[in-house]
Every structure is written in C-alpha cells, then in structure tokens.
Symmetry: C2
Subunit: 186 residues, 2 copies
DNA sequence: ACCTGAACACCGTTCAAGT
DNA sequence: ACCTGAACACCGTTCAAGT
C-alpha cells in the first residue's frame, strides 16, 4: 500500500505561481514552495524535475490563461476592429492582474523559463485571424507581428513603470489601438 | 602610503557586462567578476555596494549606449519618416549586439536592476521629436508611446525567438516601420 | 586604502535512510 | 511510493585580520 502523497503537482504549481506573484522570482524558491504545500524541498523532486521546470510549468499555465482570455475576448465573427481592441485589452488585463506571470511569458530573459511557444498558438491564431481580416491574407503575418509587438511592448513598459513623462496612459493605449487598426487596414 | 588598488569600478562594470552577455544573468556572479578583474569577491565591495548595484550600473551603461546610438542615428533635421526608421533600426542593432543588456533595460522584471529612467531621457527626447513632427504636438506623447512600445516589443520578441510562424522577420520589421509612420502621421 | 580568508545565511539538488 | 535529514556545491555578503 503506497503512501497517499501529501501534495500534488497542481498544488505545487499553484503555490509557485502565488509565491512568484507575491515575492518575485527570488521568492519562488523550492524551500518556499515546499513550505507552502506542507512538504520539505527535496520531496518536490518526486513531482517536478527541478526549479527551472517548475518555473516553466507556471509560465505554461500563464500562457494558456492568456490564450483562452484572448480567444474569449475576440471570438470569431466579431468585427475585426472591435476584435483587435478586445484582444489587446484582454492581454493588458492579464498583465495587470498577474504582472510576474506576464513577464515570465513575454520577457526574453530566462531561456529555460519560457513556455513552449505551441501553447500560445491558439492566441496566435486569433491574432492572425484578426490581422487577416484587417490587412488581407498577403500581409496577415506582418500585421499580426506588428500588433503583437506593440501590445506586448506596451504592457511590458507599463508594468516596468516606463511611462514617466506624464500624460494619460489609458489614452495612449486607446490611441495605439485606433492607429494600429487603421495602419494595418492599410 | 595607501595601496594602489588592483582594480577599478570601470573594469568591474566592464567585466560584469561581458559575463552577463557571455553566460547570462546567473553568470554575472560576484565571484566570476572578481576572478575576471583579478580580485576576490569580497574586495568588490570596496568599489560597489553589492551585486544589485553592479547590475544596475551595467544597465545604466547600456541605456546610455542605446540613447547615444538612437540620437546619432536620427539627428535633428532628418526627415521624420527616415528618422523613425533610423531610430528603431539603431535600437534593433543594439539588441542584436547585446541581447542580455537589452533585456536588462527593457524587461520589466528585476525591479532593482532597471537603470534610472532619466538615463533614457535623451533617447526619449529624440523619439518625442520625431513623433511631434509626424503626429503633431497634440498627439506627440501618444505617438511616441506607440512607437516605443512597438519597437521594444518587436526586438524583445525577436530576442526571445518568439517569431515562430516562418515568414521574413526583416520584412515584418520594415512593414511595421512603414505602417507606423503612416499611422502616426494620421 | 585595499585585499584576504573565514564565516554566515541562504540557495538548488542528490541520496541513503526511513515509513 | 513518498517523505525526510544530511550533505554537497554553490551563491551574496560581512568582518576581523593582514599589508
């Protein structure tokens, strides 16, 4: 009769995500995760191969969440300009709710922390659909890249508190949405 | 007669920047920096208050470098659309030459690693000038934020190897430049 | 004035030993 | 099958002692 197992991979990933959001990347330590789920750090290695893999699992969860939020916000059939706004607003909302998780997904550092890009494929498909409707199939990929670069860059800068010249940041976001929609429609 | 000092703050920052680029953030350890400049790790504390401060000095140097490259690429008097292209191309070049330093400046993580935003002010002024010429004084700030978000987002994604759907990434960059120039000109 | 080794408090990770 | 304490190799940082 094997021991029942005092914790689970789900509880571990959840604890890691909470610690990351509460105390930053350094706060996501194996010892802290263990303490949160009620186990010693070495026991975590029965559930996950190491810290890097755990961080990657957190990132993958976040990427899945982003994907389903973007998909839900901009369902097929929505007029493309409205869909563009809804999709990037969903991304921005996620960034504000879970800034540390957002960084994990979109910050280029930490090679091994990045989730499998496949996970963001559904979100990518939605952005590509919107871009096709706006810019036409010939220019869809370039348009999708322009849109994604702007949206992720804007939210990254906002989270980094990089908008320091005053003014209305919400207005700048709306400005970007409008101008990009026009620009991509060409 | 005081000891001459076997190393210097300049040599330390230079060594830290090289280690960061060569071996990533974890490679920038006090011990490795000490070994590079020919001193034991504790001696570094005579020159710099700690690792976090050292990382910040590396980031500040990188930000200064970005600022002067952008300024030099897009001098006053250049037609605004050409200046826009030149400025963002200079940013992209920097990112490709020093990806780790680019991440230090533009990645939202690592609160304490970010350089004083004041350092990027010259570059910000150049972008704001270009944006004013394109979008007019009323919309200059929004336009500058749109442009900066897109450019930094694009380079970040490129460094993260996030463009995985094939196609020509250079063409997508040029597409972004053209469409943004039109969009900001309104 | 600068540099050193030793020490301290933390990491992540491995592993033999327990249940 | 899972959990543990002990151990190992690393960190950053402090500090008394050397020159």
């Amino acid at each position: 009769m094997p021991a029942p197992g005092r914790t689970s991979i789900d509880a571990i990933v959840r604890a890691a995500a909470e610690l990351l959001e509460a105390n930053g990347p350094d706060g996501l330590s194996m010892q802290a995760v263990g303490a949160t789920v009620g186990v010693r750090a070495p026991s975590l290695y029965k559930h996950v191969p190491g810290r890097a893999a755990l961080v990657r699992l957190v990132a993958a969860d976040a990427a899945r969440d982003i994907g389903s939020r973007v998909d839900a916000a901009a369902p097929p059939g929505m007029p493309p300009r409205a869909a563009l706004g809804a999709a990037v607003r969903a991304l921005r909302s996620f960034g504000r709710e879970r800034p540390a998780a957002f960084r994990l997904v979109f910050s280029p550092g930490d090679e091994e922390a990045r989730p499998d890009p496949e996970i963001l494929r559904r979100a990518a498909a939605t952005v590509l659909r919107i871009s096709t409707e706006l810019a036409g199939p010939e220019r869809a990929l370039e348009a999708a890249r322009t849109l994604t670069a702007w949206a992720s860059g804007f939210v990254s800068m906002e989270l980094a508190d990089a908008f320091r010249m005053g003014g209305d940041v919400d207005a700048a976001f709306d400005f970007g949405i409008e101008r990009l929609a026009e620009a991509l429609a060409g």
